[in-house]
Amino acid sequence: MIINRHLVTIAFRQLQNRRRQTFLTLLGISVGVMVLITAVSLMDGLLQSFIQKIVDIAPHVIVSGERVKSPVPDQLIVSGNGNHVVFVKKVNRERQDVIKNYPRMESLIKSDSLVQVVTPLVSMDVIGMFGTISQPVQLFGIVPFTENEIEKFSNSMVSGKFDALGRTPDGIMLGTTVAKDFTARVGDRMRIVSQSGVIYSVRVVGIFKTGINDIDDNSYVNLRLGQIIGGFSPDEASDLYIRVNDLPKDGLVASTIERETNYKAITWEQKAASVVALFKMISGIVYFLVFFVIMVAGFGVANVLITNVLEKSRDIAILKSLGFKRSEITLIYLTQGLIVAIIGAAIGCVLGFLLIEIMSSIPMASSSQSFVSSSHLMMGKNPMYFVWASLFAVVVSLVAAVGPSRNAAKVNPVEILRGER
């Protein structure tokens, strides 16, 4: 079969003859492609910016006090009535949620060349009081210098200086959400009530905003003060945060720690898994809906071709009598579908690009309900969006064009040419 140029010319001229309908079909495809590109950009942008933020300012590995295994028995006695008696040497109460002798752990972990920073912290739930306002606060005791290397608080300060925390033994640094709730400002004194009911007076030295609402809900004091408020011994920590040199190796670091110390170590991927899964699910739903937009555009293509084939049945009969083969007739109409799809997709790509630019410049009020807050919509920008959206539109259009094109090839010239009588 010779695919010759004038089959394309015939296809093109026929479309030109139905300018209005062709234009509307083009518009349908353009809008479909535009919406698809924008939706992908939006969903991808959200996920990417979320992951980027985590990678930038969240610990890559968190070692917690949770044990991987329960203590093994030192002595096991099986009695006659089927009961077992297990002896373990330690008889005093042991907190199962703390890392014991954390400085040793810290130096052990640090000896791994993959690890960049390790920092201990204690976490606790307390009640914060400021003026007449009192409400629960998630409080962390940290080593400011090393903590900053992981969570980069010094870049997120809204007021006050991060360094001030290290210099102020009774200092507290509030997340922006907490500060807003208390209407507290830098320099204010507030009170912290521990779980055992002891009241501590602290001074606000800084307010930060990372954009991750989970973190902006927290407040930070120095490790020692935290240990006192939370009832930890000076060598106890509730977690160790780790930042690795080479991100993909975080799983390796975590499993080494678990194997060597028996403390639970989780990676940021594991911690964020549920959020990422939620993102993916939402994206899936969005893509599914957008799919229908393109489907409707596909119906538009089918419609313009069906009309063309019906209206042009006389011309098809003539082409056949002139020696055009069935396959060539089919090709003419498939080409029409392709022309509409390619032009429509091209316009859609331009519109999609513009819409992404516009959307990413619209200021957005941040909401504490979302995972990540930002002053603007974070739109993903990747040339592959355009490639995939266009490809998808072309495939849908071609599928839509198959039926009408095959019908065109079935036109029986004798019936048509005689029918004119």
């Binding site: 015939i10 001229r13 030109q16 003859n17 020696g323």
Partner: protein, 236 residues
């Protein structure tokens, strides 16, 4: 005159089966007809409407297949060819002219004439273009090469259609009531054109017509009545 048969029909039968509410109605259009057309013939097929003369023309042109019997063109049994082979055969050996011009409305006169030459890729675009403009000039349309069909008169449209039918140098030119839709002056031009073509280039022409005047200008009149060959008269 050369006695070699270019088209030969042997016991051709054509019937149509129509379904009418579960009941099959068979209508016989051509019961059994045999004749041949010689190379260089200029034959008119006449007969009342419904006599089957158009069906006969479509069978000769390979646009339709007989129910039984054989049609030969240049000693090749075209009634046995596949649809794809028939398409190529029509392109190379046959030219059709219909009652209506049936030009492609989106293309100008020149492009319409080029179409059959480009269909099977036998000619390059430039060859097709020069040949098409030569044909159109020969038919007196050198001024109208770039006119679209709707910018041409009925007679001019029909002449473009004839040029298109002649584009691939067909063995046989088949015409179905080519003057049926024209005023008498334009029709006269077409008669003359066909006669000239036949006389000057030896083009074999078969014309279906019920125009007695046109028929009398040809060399041979085949009269069809109820699907049977009623008379076969040579003029001159």
């Amino acid at each position: 005159m050369n006695d070699e048969a270019i088209i030969r029909l042997e016991h051709v039968r054509k019937q149509l089966t129509m379904k009418n509410g579960g009941e099959e109605i068979v209508s016989v259009i051509l019961p059994d007809i045999s004749f041949d057309i010689k190379r260089g013939d200029f034959a008119a097929i006449t007969g009342p409407s419904g006599s089957g003369k158009t069906s006969l023309l479509y069978l000769m042109g390979g646009l339709d297949k007989p129910t039984s019997g054989s049609v030969f063109l240049d000693d090749q049994e075209i009634s046995a060819l596949s649809e794809e082979e028939l398409a190529s055969m029509r392109n190379q050996k046959l030219g059709f002219v219909y009652q209506f011009h049936f030009l492609l409305p989106e293309f100008n006169a020149l492009e319409n004439v080029m179409m059959p030459m480009l269909a099977r890729g036998r000619f390059s675009t430039s060859e097709a273009r020069s040949r098409a403009s030569e044909l159109l000039s020969r038919l007196g349309l050198s001024e109208k090469l770039h006119n679209k069909p709707n910018q041409l008169s009925g007679g001019q449209q029909q002449r473009v259609a004839i040029a298109r039918a002649l584009a691939n140098n067909p063995s046989v030119l088949l015409a179905d009531e080519p003057t049926g839709n024209l005023d008498s002056r334009s029709a006269e031009t077409i008669y003359k054109l066909f006669s000239e073509l036949n006389r000057e280039t030896g083009q074999t022409i078969v014309v279906v017509t019920h125009d007695e005047h046109f028929a009398s200008e040809t060399k041979r009149i085949l009269n069809i009545l109820d699907g049977q060959l009623n008379s076969d008269k040579r003029l001159e």
